[in-house]
Amino acid sequence: MSALWAVYKREVALFFRSTIAYAIAFGVLLFMGVLFSATVTQFVANNTSGFAQQLATADMAIVGMLGTLAFLMFIIAPLLTMRLLAEETREGTLEVLMTLPMHDWAFVLGKFFAVWTFYTFILACTLAYVVMLAGMGVPDAGILFAGYLGAWLYGGVTLALSMVWSALTEDQIVAAFLGAATILVFYLSDALALIANGRGFTAGATDFLRELSLVAHYQETMMQGILRGEDVAYFVLLTVAALFVTSVLVGTRRWRAS
């Protein structure tokens, strides 16, 4: 545990010291701020007055913002994770770490929790918009809770998925592109299910593709305020699976000639 904690602390410190990490956070928050502002302005302009309308505005603004964040994760997650393991491999420091009395998984988990912490920081910054909304109508607590819990888990799984590639290649750019592609596959597998259905695939294959989908477990459920155990289980299991694969891939460095 001491090893995991040590890796975590160093990595968190690196994120909060890194200009690039802040630049990513800044870009994300700016983008979301503009969208948030546009959504609110539009609803206010169309306002036919009344309390119900104000509530709907607040809910729409939150849902729209979280949906944007979830979509953007295919860019954000690879940018945040590409360095994590690839740099250690390239710099050779991985060889030092792997000859210390530390399990490969402790190292991988330390890195993962660190990047997830930084993501949580970005997510927490968006709460500023929620505070602003309080002035114009209180959003539904269920939507707020389920939406944010979902966004947090959604972030975790996309970070874990893109981190796999950082373990596989020592080239950060390659890791980032493959990470983005992987997340898009999971993002779009909902749409793929529709196509498969139209092409006469079996119901089993279609269901499988649909169950794999990030959208089916977040945008269509938790983001709308529907909290289901199976969605939480999906995120947790997929995250654990991705971290397991990452840990195994880090271990294969021991077998590969370099």
């Binding site: 160093r10 690196l14 420091t93 000859t99 021991r254």
Partner: protein, 313 residues
């Protein structure tokens, strides 16, 4: 204590190390000598628990490198080739980081003690990226010493240092050898000869000789050629030597005669001296030609390459 027993390491079809066996004792510096690509780094990576062996066994501090990897990693201090470091940290922060991963108690005191030991106390709070190559090397060495390991494995620690730094580092390694088991790789012969109590010569993934520097020197001196200098007619002396039954060949080489024995294990010196004196030559010098490890090394590695060529043919 390190015991390597019929160790083989393959990467795919390529055997980086083939069936090697040797030991490194407590309180000694064992030199691991060989040209680049001989298998030194591969062997060290197996011994530090970084990579598992393909077959054979290796014990480090009494622990099996494969079965008890975590125990091995606890008793080993490792300085990899090229000394990978975190350039954004200071030497002190780096040691604290490693110490925490190792779960060391009294990390601060240990970090300060090893920094003092490698002579880096004054720069302990400078970013590693601002340090010179020699200082970085010492940070790496401090990291290897941090947990007061029983076994120290140093992969080419003097590479890229200036002559004064090399001298200091050799001294330090020799000192460390008194308290730890030190395995130290190099491709510089004079270095191995100066620092090591025992030398293991590796080439093409196989051990081709091992022993104390003295034993290795003797081994070759016995099989080697003899140089003779006389006062008087050199050509006549050459003829006398060439006529001896044990001599295969005697040739002139500037102001001396180089005599090659027919049987490489024989010592020609007594016979040569006797024959020349009987003929009335004034004897100036009779000595074995190969007296340093350089010659042994070159001869052994050449012999190996020759044998491989024959195999291919």
């Amino acid at each position: 204590m390190i015991t390597v027993d019929h160790l083989t390491k393959r990467y795919g079809d390529v055997a980086a190390v083939r069936d090697i066996s040797f030991t490194a004792e407590n309180g000694q510096v064992t030199g691991f000598l060989g040209p680049n690509g001989a298998g030194k780094t591969t062997t060290m990576r197996v011994l530090t628990g970084f990579t598992p062996p393909t077959s054979g066994r290796a014990l480090v501090g009494g622990f099996d490198v494969f079965e008890q990897s975590m125990n091995v990693r606890r008793v080993v201090g490792y300085l990899p080739e090229n000394v990978p470091l975190y350039r954004d940290l200071t030497p002190y922060e780096y040691l604290m980081y490693l110490g925490e991963i190792r779960g060391l108690r009294e990390r601060k005191a240990r970090a300060q003690a090893v920094l003092a030991r490698v002579g880096l106390s004054a720069r302990s709070n400078s970013r590693i990226r601002t340090l010179s190559k020699g200082m970085k090397q010492r940070v790496g060495l401090a990291a290897a010493l941090l947990h007061d390991p029983q076994v120290l494995i140093l992969d080419e620690p003097t590479i890229g240092l200036d002559p004064l730094q090399v001298l200091e580092l050799r001294q330090l390694v020799a000192e460390l050898g008194r308290e730890h088991t030190v395995l130290f790789s190099t491709h510089i012969l004079s270095e191995a000869e100066q620092v090591c109590d025992k030398i293991v010569i590796i080439n093409g993934g196989q051990i081709i000789a091992q022993g104390t520097p003295q034993a290795l020197r003797d081994q070759l001196a016995r099989g080697g050629r003899v140089v003779v200098r006389v006062a008087g007619d050199l050509e006549a002396a050459r003829a006398v030597l060439a006529a001896l039954p044990a001599v295969q060949e005697a040739v002139l080489d500037r102001d001396s005669v180089v005599v090659t024995p027919a049987d490489s294990s024989a010592d020609l010196r007594p016979d040569a001296a006797q024959a020349l004196m009987a003929q009335g030559f004034g004897l100036l010098e009779v000595r074995s030609l190969a007296v340093n490890l350089e010659d042994i090394f070159i001869e052994l590695t050449r012999r190996e390459v020759g044998a491989q060529k024959e195999e291919v043919a």
